[in-house]
Amino acid sequence: MNLTLRIWRQKGPEDKGRMVTYQVEDISPDMSFLEMLDVLNERLILADEEPVAFDHDCREGICGMCGLMINGDAHGPQRGTTACQLHMRQFSDGETIDIEPWRARAFPVIKDLVVNRGSFDKIIAAGGYITAPTGSAPEAHATPVPKADADAAFESAACIGCGACVAACPNGSGMLFTAAKVTQLSLLPQGQPERYTRVIGMVDAHDEAGFGGCTNAGECTVVCPKGIPLNTIGRLNRDYLAATAKSGGKPGS
């Protein structure tokens, strides 16, 4: 396959950045999307040009490191698939493909297609955990968990933190990510003691990081490679309302 790529190039955070056009030839349909970029980079290096920086690591769809806007689609056209597992047979010969980084104030561009998603870590640090210092845990079977709850918690826990939800959201909101963790932990008995402080802490951290507000537009769940359902946001809302009602807005009081 021969393809025309239009790729966002940006030297650093201060650079303005622009789309640059490249041609790649002899691309095998069996290549993954990132392997296609590898091919381009090898050629750029030998042609004395700067290769395109992009994030990737496990290349099996679980680490959440890769994230590209491909023709306006977060992670590309195939649903339930990260960019690293997307294969070139999804494209046709001669196609023009636009590749851009995730765009959000909370995800500033570091270089080319690489962005800083540290704000996700901050949201987790603000409450996305269960306080259980090592060694303090009771016997695992002390608290049975109904299978349905465990399964539903797992569904939300499958989030890989890639940021596609933010990239696709018309509001630049990170609410699906936040809600996935809130939902996982609030469905489990172990998560109850911190249930309401958690949701307030995480939503505050989310807003502080500069993410937009959720308007239930639903783009996030469509592009989510792990299919985190939109109703997790309803669970977050319910916990949030309950938390503000219980404490007059002050968690823990």
Partner: protein, 645 residues
């Protein structure tokens, strides 16, 4: 020139003697403690944020130490532990099926082909039960039964159901549990987290590990970070083969730099090759994807009987197919252990009977299972795996048999550590896949997660206190001559890599190195092959330093530069792996020497000559390494020959 010399034997002096059941308890009691007020004055550096590093950093911070944590990924949540699928073993005996700490200990020593330390493995089995408690308390959504209790399943190498799991994403869920505990400590200000930072050198002051030199991958800034102790949890080195199931960024640099500074490297040749991976589709291949071993429960492995049979699989009649695992191993059939299945696949491909475009693949056929159980049942069991296969290969495994081939998956070798997980450099502790300690020559399925978390949550936090109790140590800062020198070494190396300005990319060298390693130090090794490999590696390493092209500069994000440094270290490790494989004139676990097999082609151990850990001391690049032997004593599990026929 000799490839190595032999030095004094080495011994683990930390494990207490006496009954194995109480060794860990006695060690914990004899270890010195650090009082809480003093903990706040001490800094511990933890490199890596996988199961071992993440859990260790969180636990040490909970205990009151000041922790500095480093990872090369953009977030500690992305370490490659996340990709583990199957599960985690624990001797809970919830099934009442005869499991016990002793049985887990026994299975692990046997599964490791009698090349691991009994004391360590027993401790691992003891601690395994605490891990499950800890993870459940953190909200890890393990699979449960309708009664609300934890579900378990069976896994290779065991006759009991002791594997806890969270669908096919156990590693992810366990890692997120550790990551959340770590983030909590970061939020509390107890851990200073440095993501997108790579450790490039160890700082040793007066014989003690006192710091590291790191490069900020975003700004390119090199800095020296000092501490009272350094913990390496930087994972395995499977990427020396270029193609492996490891993440692209996995590398040996942290442990190799420590090795160069005096830490011994143990059993580097022990690598685990996983039999069920999606085959290479072409030269562009950048990594290999594992398909869960559970597929072999229902799939039948075969190749055509005739060489070069190019017909489509469905056109090959039943009597022209060779179900070779069922033929050679009638009692275990398609369910033989990983190493055996891998080697058998290699053998049939070497005979010219491999399938697929590259002829390096065998069929894993579900037609019989679909006929017997119906498509629905197969879908329910393996639906997500079949989907993943189709996404990657474009073929529908319900219609066409899957093609699979073995791939490098895990490395049992690593830095040598004593019972306290301390390396031969005082103050340098090594945990998780980065050390060599618990799996011997072969790791059982679902044991890697167990070891990572055992080391990080329970073992290291107890043993490191014994070392730190002698502190706080004399304050040293980045201006200490040893620190300045380490930093200068790092800067010089970067300058050198950038200055070559040659005509080949880093990846092209890495790919070629991988081919040499896979060919000669992969599933089957021979003296002639290993000698050839050593020559080729040395020649290629020279080429690398003359012809590599690293674009850009050291300022700011430069992914080519990162790769170049890692590949340079892989070149040195590769040679040591081959030397280790060459010197070990026996076959055991993941190490199979063609010269040492039973008449029917099985691994032939030589317990009289090789029942030891090979701990290698570095003397210089291309210089003969020094071999230190740690004899292995088996008081509780007596070595036997494995047979699966």
């Amino acid at each position: 020139m000799d490839l190595y010399t032999e030095g004094d034997p080495i011994a683990d002096t930390k494990a207490p003697e006496g009954p194995i059941e109480t060794r860990w308890e006695r060690r914990r009691f004899s270890a010195k403690l650090v009082n809480p007020a003093n903990r706040r004055k001490m800094t511990v550096i933890v490199v890596g944020t996988g199961l071992a590093g993440g859990s260790a950093a969180a636990t040490l911070a909970e205990q009151g130490y000041r922790v500095k944590s480093y990872c090369y990924q953009d977030s500690p949540r992305r370490a490659h532990s996340i990709a583990a699928q199957g599960g985690i073993n624990a001797a809970k005996n919830y099934r009442n099926d005869g499991d016990s700490i002793h049985r887990l200990f026994y299975d692990t020593v046997k599964g490791g082909d009698f090349r691991s330390r009994e004391s360590n493995v027993h401790r691992l089995a003891e601690v395994s039960v605490n891990i499950i408690d800890q993870c459940v308390a953190q909200g890890v959504p393990f699979a449960r039964e309708y009664g609300g209790l934890l579900d378990t399943r069976s896994f290779g190498g065991a006759q009991v159901q002791r594997t806890f799991y969270a669908r096919g994403q156990t590693g992810q869920q366990l890692l997120l549990g550790a990551y959340q505990a770590l983030e909590r400590q970061i939020g509390l200000g107890n851990v200073e987290m440095n993501s997108r930072h790579e450790m490039l050198e160890l700082v040793v002051v007066d014989g003690k590990a006192r710091g590291i030199v790191v490069r900020d991958l975003v700004t390119g800034e090199i800095s020296t970070e000092m501490a009272d102790a350094v913990v390496l949890a930087s994972g395995g080195y499977g990427n020396v083969f270029y193609l492996s199931t490891n993440a692209k960024g996995c590398n040996v640099t942290a442990t190799w730099r420590a090795h160069r500074k005096g830490a011994y490297f143990a059993n580097p040749c022990y690598t685990q090759i996983h039999p069920t991976c999606i085959p290479v589709s072409g030269d562009h291949q950048s990594k290999l994807t594992l398909m869960s071993e559970s597929l072999r429960n229902d799939g039948r492995v075969w190749v055509p009987k005739a060489k070069g049979d190019d017909r489509a699989p469905r056109d090959i009649p039943e009597d022209e197919r060779d179900y070779y695992l069922e033929r050679i191993y009638p009692s275990f059939g398609n369910l033989v252990p990983r190493d055996i299945a891998s080697r058998a696949a290699k053998n049939v491909c070497d005979e010219g009977r491999g399938v697929g475009p590259t002829k390096l693949g065998v069929y894993l056929d579900f037609a019989d299972a679909i006929n017997r159980l119906g498509r629905k049942a197969i879908e329910a069991k393996y639906g997500n795996l079949f989907e993943m296969y189709e996404r990657i290969t474009g073929e529908d495994p319900y219609e066409v048999p899957m093609r699979i081939y073995p791939a490098v998956h895990y490395t049992m070798g690593g830095l040598w550590v004593d019972y306290d997980l301390q390396s031969t450099i005082p103050g340098l502790f090594v945990i998780g896949e980065a050390n060599f300690s618990d799996h011997g020559a072969n790791r059982l399925g679902a044991s890697a997660l167990m070891q990572g978390l055992a080391d990080g949550y329970f073992v290291l936090p107890a043993t490191i206190a014994n070392y730190l109790a002698a502190g706080p140590f004399e304050a040293v800062d980045a201006s200490h001559p040893a620190a300045v020198e380490a930093r200068r070494d790092v800067e010089d190396r970067i300058t050198r890599l950038l200055a070559v300005d040659g005509d080949r990319t880093v990846d092209s060298f890495h790919r070629e190195l991988g081919q040499i390693m896979w060919e000669h130090c992969g599933m089957e090794r021979s003296e002639a092959g290993l000698r050839k490999a050593i020559d080729e590696i040395r020649a290629l390493r020279d080429q690398f330093w003359q012809r590599v092209r690293v674009p850009g500069d050291g300022e700011g994000l430069n992914q080519s530069l990162e790769k170049a440094g890692r590949v340079a270290d892989f070149f040195e490790l590769a040679e040591l792996m081959c030397v280790d494989a060459l010197h070990r004139e026996e076959s055991c676990g993941g190490h199979f020497r063609a010269e040492h097999q039973t008449p029917d082609g099985e691994a032939q151990r030589d317990d009289d000559r090789f029942a030891y850990v090979a701990a290698w001391e570095y003397t210089g690049t291309g210089e003969p390494a020094v071999l230190h032997k740690e004899d292995l004593k088996f008081e509780y599990v007596h070595p036997t020959q494995r047979s699966y026929k």
